[in-house]
Subunit: 477 residues, 2 copies
């Protein structure tokens, strides 16, 4: 239990309005966007500066409290759920864009800046910040960095890590680490920046981020292609890449997802189709024209049932927006939505679709699959009800068997959502006990007391390997 | 001293032809391409497989021998000099290209494959491996990864790290770590891959590497622009970037370098010019045409003394090749060549040129400056004689003062050459004692006995902070 003295200290350092500790205030900070895992913190603080983060860190360390950093809570692996209680440090009030440097093509932001706000701010200056996770309207840059978020443009433009140039980070030992800078090349010492990126809040709390910006593409073309089966869609993706065309976006939805999205946004998607690919090529107009032609040719060669080219920028935007609703659309139809994040080398895409189909039948589940086909990054989503124990067991068996194949094919258990709580049991299977051992030693070297985001990523020998689920909570979609 | 039993074990495990321990055989393995640092190892092994690397690692650990991994020894910060003696593990016989996967656009190589050999092998299949360190004709991929090597195309295409997808690595604890894969997105656990990349052989020995390949640019245009002063050349670079044009190459040479290169390669560079920029734009032909026009316009606007467009691919290639000779060309004119690797945010480029000029005068030195102007990554090179103690002291003071400014401007003490032995004293100035402390804890978590490449990167409290220089050695250029 946190002491009243500690609460007083926090109020003193952060201001009373930035410290919450009454149960009714804590309720909404007990979960993120991952179903089935939630736990009340003891106190939530909203720092407005790096120094305040440091002060909160010091008080928590003194009290021996678990410390869980979070942004908007859009995480999909439970990374910001305070499963051991303690202190949540919520960075959403550190939301200033500190600088857009047009000479060096960089932007520096506080960790709580919303992804889309940064995108819009730099776009207003004719620049481009490419990473666009599905939740960009509410997700924060700090969360994006901690999870190394991907997005719809990852295929051509890469993920969050590819744009992080510098980080300011409060470490558990009470120091402030600044790593990287505006120099585009830097090999001075170990690469903390890329280690912190994707560390899921277990090594330090990021408070400031400098990202790289690029010139925006001058033109783009958006296609929708429909298919009578998923395998053909997968083959189309492979053929486009093999033709040395790297579209900015190559997204897939299966029949279940098409129908849920159509129910939700009503833009006239054909409900009878087995698969849909949303493809966008961008760049110089001449290149776009050539690539668009080549993509269309490939789509016709593999016998896509229908190819539709967006006629206006508005139409293209509405198609992309429709794709972004996929998770919410699926989540509407069942009490529980189990979303996975299997990623395979692109050449295994068609095989993975087959496997998902086989397992869906074998385990008699309702599954909607969508995702970043061009990256081999799929989100097979089981639509179920967590009150149905038998169904939950079948869902678990489904993922278990799927991941076995994914790993055998050289894939990964998480392409962009992180390990958090949700994937701990799979991690050792992927990186082996030796890999986990090195990770634990690194964790230990940053956080010897193990107070920072405890119970995340690591499973084995961890007292908090099973999430504590409190009665009376339910994640609503 | 290594025991005869250990030598026998090594011969048994690696084959007698792959184990050298006679002094005359060891002589050439006592240095890399960094002047002034050299030390004899006790034994050198040439493993031909990951298992042999592991066997050598185990024997060295049992004997308590320092272990220094190396490739071709083109490093410029002393990273592969066995300053504490012990065992050198030379990976040049692990030189097989294991796979070029055209479906997934990846290549998998052993660590000893020469950079240019990989470039040529993938080019033969219509693919492109962009990183091109100056030493690409002899440097190995393993060395490139360990130092996170840059190159002439870094501006547009990034550095080695941006292409590393997976690594196989022998750790000091005798385990083999495989990290990453052919999936283009992977967030399962801490990012070892990017931590190992640039770790300068201090955390593990990389034996296999999977790199990302991309489609090659369809067209390119090469320019030479001459200037009457360095500052204007720096301004041209900033203006080109600010115009949202990202050339693939933007290289600079000052007057001293132009003259040394002209002496060396005799291609008619105008000796009276104060600065030269080598600029290359590439991509789709239509984009190249537009960007080339825009670049030319900027060059004329800033009053470049002369702008020359390469008329043929051969001419373009010979200009790039001439730039690649810069270091060798400078090294011919004096007994000792002290090469530095200062990197600043691009907006500080012109200031940095001014500062180099001021310090050259102040310390009465002969300095040739060249480098990757587009990256803000410069190689101010002092041409001196290490037998002249006074001159060496002035050279030291020159760099000392230069780095003070570079750091104040948000730059880095190493853009691409690494810390190794040469930069240890500067590292703490850049990342602070807190940063060094975290680095040491990470080092400890990988290598608790401290046997792997000891004496590198870290200075403070390190028994080997001063390189041991043996009499009778001299680095020849």
């Amino acid at each position: 239990m946190i002491s009243t003295t500690a609460i007083e200290h926090l109020k003193e350092k952060l201001g009373a309005q930035n410290v919450l500790y009454e149960k009714e205030d804590l309720l909404v900070l007990g979960y993120d966007s991952t179903p089935g895992v939630h736990h009340l913190p003891e106190v939530v603080v909203y720092p407005t500066s790096t120094e305040q983060v440091l002060a909160a860190m010091e008080i928590a360390q003194r009290e021996g409290l678990p410390i869980v950093p979070r942004g908007s809570g859009t995480g999909l692996s439970g990374g910001s759920v305070p499963v051991q209680g303690g202190m949540v440090i919520c960075l959403t009030r550190m939301n200033r864009i500190l600088e857009i440097d047009e000479e060096n093509l960089t932007a520096t932001v506080e960790a709580g800046v919303v992804t889309l706000d940064l995108f819009n701010a730099v776009a207003a200056k004719g620049l481009f910040y490419p990473p666009d996770p599905g939740s960009q309207k509410i997700s924060t840059l700090g969360g994006n960095v901690m999870e190394n978020a991907g997005g719809l443009r990852g295929l051509k433009y890469g993920v969050t890590r590819d744009y992080v140039m510098a980080l300011k980070c409060v470490l558990p030992d009470g120091s402030i680490l600044t790593t990287g800078g505006k120099s585009v090349k830097d090999v001075a010492g170990y690469n903390f920046k890329d280690l912190l990126c994707g560390s899921e809040g277990t090594l330090g709390i990021i408070t400031e981020i400098t990202v790289k910006l690029i010139p925006p593409p001058k033109d783009k073309r958006t296609f929708l292609a429909y298919f009578n089966d998923m395998r053909t869609a997968g083959e189309a993706v492979s053929k486009i890449i093999a033709a040395k065309i790297i579209p900015s976006t190559m997204e897939i939805m299966d029949k279940a997802t098409i129908n849920c999205v159509e129910d939700y946004v009503k833009i006239g998607l054909p409900r009878q189709m087995a698969a849909l690919l949303l493809i966008e090529v961008d760049g110089h107009p001449a290149m776009v024209a050539e690539e668009a032609e080549a993509v269309e040719k490939i789509l016709r060669e593999v016998n896509a049932a229908e190819v539709h080219v967006a006629k206006t920028a508005e139409e293209a935007a509405s198609l992309a927006a429709a794709r972004r609703t996929a998770l919410s659309a699926l989540a509407r139809v069942s009490p529980t939505t189990l979303l996975e994040d299997a990623t395979v080398p692109r050449s295994r895409l068609a095989d993975t679709f087959d496997e998902i189909e086989r397992l869906t039948e074998k385990y008699q589940l309702k599954v909607g699959t969508f995702g970043h086909a061009g990256d081999g990054n799929l989100h097979p989503t089981v639509l179920c009800d967590e009150r149905n124990a038998d169904e939950m067991q079948r869902a678990h068996a489904f993922y278990n068997e799927l991941y076995e194949k994914v790993l055998a094919w050289g894939g990964t258990v998480s392409g962009e959502h992180g390990i958090g709580l949700a994937k701990k049991e799979y991690l050792a299977r992927q990186i082996g006990p030796g890999g986990v051992a090195v990770m634990k030693r690194i964790k230990q070297s940053f956080d010897p007391k193990g107070l920072l985001n405890p119970g995340k990523i690591f499973d084995e020998g961890d007292p908090c390997s099973k999430p504590h689920v409190e009665e009376g909570f339910r994640v609503s979609h």
